[in-house]
Symmetry: C3
Subunit: 361 residues, 3 copies
């Protein structure tokens, strides 16, 4: 029995073909992030999401609105038009659309055309995030919006950032589920050697993939130990990484300090990774690093912001190099899979099944 038999689920070659990659069709029936709440305002912006160019703005009362960024008449980009109250006015012939996308005025016509509508997309705001549903609007159930309640909870404090990355969202999720790269790609921040060797517990629960880890009586990683002022002691560390949907990966970490006289102190960190494919080969990415201790400490804010940015930049660089290698090479994506790849492969199988489509030849 050789080491390949250790590959996740002992896949046969045929089964190995059934993982999503950058060629797999995107999954439309899903809530994705359209932007930070403060990116969407009374100034119309455009953004490509799942290959579709979208115009976004807020109504006078503050509701976020998203419509296709293309007038049905002559394809003028609606984001180049202007708002009059809640009405979006095309900059070419003055067609007016209400927030549902219905044409309410066509200046050069005495009667408003009944078929001159633009597709609108359901949106929902949750704390600092606006979500969008790009699939069948009949399926846009707000109960399906992933939990990010800590981002709007007064007991938590967050730092945040965003990137546009020339990678595919599958590789991004695989990177987030893969903790064996920490010591090599992130030696300065999250990659402590002990942690790399700690045992993983990997589970698939429905379409969610969960990785649990625990490491007792060890040095804290710098990214948490420094801002929480714990670098001088040993702690217990716990983490749960969770592929929760094509749009979000959450990591729940906690550090327990048992050295205090008044009993154990727990420090919790929730990392929220929000991923929306721009195209099959590029993504929008927003992140939050949230904590439940030392909320009013600006040096902790600064440290967590800088350390997070650095680690994510290392990932961005690596993922862009990889997609460039794969797309410019004579050979397409190839995978050589090992046991530690199991969580990523579970995720890629979920995406493959959800895409409901065979890979391109």
């Amino acid at each position: 029995m050789n080491e390949l038999s250790r590959v996740a689920e002992n896949l046969t070659p045929l089964e190995q073909e059934r993982f999503a990659d950058q060629t797999t069709p995107l999954i439309r029936d899903c809530w994705y992030v359209a932007g930070f709440s403060d990116e969407i305002s009374r100034e119309i912006i455009s953004r490509r999401l799942l290959g579709i160019d979208i115009a976004m703005y807020r109504t006078v009362s503050g509701e976020p609105v998203a419509v296709r960024n293309r007038c049905p008449h002559r394809s003028f980009p609606l984001a180049k038009g202007r708002l009059d109250g809640d009405t979006l006015i095309c900059g070419y012939h003055g067609m007016q659309f209400d927030p549902s996308g219905r044409c309410v005025t066509m200046p050069s016509m005495p009667i408003v055309p009944s078929n001159a509508n633009v597709l609108a997309f359901p949106m929902a705001e949750r704390g600092p995030i606006v979500w969008i549903w790009m699939g069948d609007a009949d399926h846009a159930d707000e109960d399906l919006i992933p939990d990010t309640s800590w981002l709007a909870d007064a007991g938590w404090k967050s730092v945040r950032g965003q990137f546009r990355i020339k990678t595919d969202y599958v590789s991004m999720h695989e990177n987030l589920l893969d903790q064996t790269h920490f010591p090599f790609l992130h030696p300065g921040t999250v990659g402590t050697p002990e942690y790399a060797r700690s045992k993983l517990d990997v589970r698939r629960v429905g379409d969610v993939v969960i990785i649990d880890r625990a490491l007792r009586d060890a040095a804290p990683p710098g990214i948490y130990g420094v801002p929480m002022q714990l670098m001088d002691r040993k702690v217990d560390r716990f983490s749960e990484a969770r592929f929760a949907s094509p749009a979000i990966h959450t990591a729940f970490a906690s550090v327990v300090d048992r050295t205090g006289a008044e009993g154990p102190e727990t420090y919790r960190f929730n990392i929220t990774h929000l991923i929306t494919p721009e195209t099959n080969e590029s993504i929008h990415y927003w992140w939050f690093n949230s904590r439940d201790r030392r909320l009013d400490d600006p040096t902790a804010d600064e440290f967590l912001l800088v350390a997070s940015e650095q680690a994510y930049l290392e990932d961005v660089e690596a993922l862009e190099w990889i997609l460039e290698a794969v797309t410019t090479d004579v050979e397409p994506q190839f995978d050589l899979n090992f046991a530690p790849d199991k969580p990523g492969l579970l995720m890629r199988r979920i995406l493959f099944e959800a895409a409901g489509a065979a890979k391109k030849a």
Copy 2:
């Protein structure tokens, strides 16, 4: 009966497929503008016209010459060579071509090869414009060159400009035939609200589309009223917009001032729009704004130049946004057609028929 029945000619869905757009093959048997006369000189220039790279120069006696910008021997661009009298000499192996494209010397061969010719294109100069015939040379009848006689008439004065635009020539012609966008895209110049609502008379005469408009006892538009010093009175306004060929749109406007003691005074403006496809998705564009009054007034020159440039830049920006939307979107061109689109649709049917080809699938 709903408003869609008002669409030009009550087209059936099948008929609606029969309009040219940016995917329609270009029409070669037509006189197009190759450049302003003063662009073509004893210095060889190259320019892509209808997808073909052309080298252009003048003979010693001043005749404009156009040949393919590619030596028949090893494809060296001939515009990188040099002139010796009327002879164009290739910069790679010294092959010499006369203005008809015939090879007259091949330095490395004792006898001039009889088949070593480069394709030459008929040219004709008319006032400040040089025309070129890119189709079958046997059809290059100079009687087919569109009338622009006012550009060389001492009773007229012109200002002019040029652009290279990343749009298709079909959309450019549609924009020129479409006057309902004036108040929205050009609110500062040509877009007076009354005019937008004046009645159109649209005719197809052979392969020409003509739009006539008249508006009596109204404020003049700033672009004519200011330089002619008529902004303090009401005038009668008349215009004829004319799609005359794939290469040219002309607009003949006149403003009649009936307030003078000595009877009505007529101010005429001819706008000449010259369009040559560079490729299916880009055009060369030259324009003239000509008037028959206040010929020696430099402030009128300046005003007409600046106001025209501004209006055309607004069109350029809009047309480039639209082509980008259409070509980067997952869905191709779609048209939702209304009654005011009739002149553009007539033009697009003429182009479609002239292209003599079904649209790409």
Copy 3:
């Protein structure tokens, strides 16, 4: 009998189709130059050769190593990793590869996977050049490495340079075998008129094409006459241009001065042109200009360096213009062939046969 009957080998139209051009598949079973020796060091570099991205470095003992620049696990570019002794360590998950490409350590696995290898390419160093074999490694016979012994011979002195050129290697070789372009493209350096008219002797010997020329009692060309201080006298000139393989063209020139009192003096110049396709439409190019006289004369070095650079830049510019003309034009490559094109056509037939494949339609 017209001049076309003088075309090389009186080719029928069908036979004329059988020459390599920029669409012909590249020839893999051949030694190509990977770089100057001093380009390959303990710092890993990447370079695309024959369409394949390669990572290159030297072992501790100085042996050059080339492997595919793509980890078999998740396609991370190996040149972005680091060296530990002779071992190349991937920057993503720390996989370690020995110089043969065999995986020797996979940090996240207890056993080294037996199938986790990266393709390594045979290399061989000859003087200032490192050669690489990109084809079937079983055929990588070092006896096939072309002779460039003068580059490492103490009796010779060389100046050198390199370019990356947006041309195809077929056109580059054709340019090197074509001496009729000298007076037109290089009038200032190698293009003396007498030489352009000297008789060629063209031979094909196996897969080698040889052109011999002799010109007696003529002015020396400036590129040799100036640095050797021979411009004041008549000399005999001899040259052999040799297409030796897809990777190399060598030119052996000699100038004999018979004016001296002590008998004839011979000055020899070997020009080494080293060509490796980067892709079908771009090449790496290294050149050496070597001489056997005035070895310690720095003004000769400087003159030969500057004059060579200038002549090669003229070729680079011409070849890039031509490939751009061919690839952006509506018509593909066309050839009009004349008698002086014979050596290039022989070479292109050799490449066509070696590619062993029909041209793309």
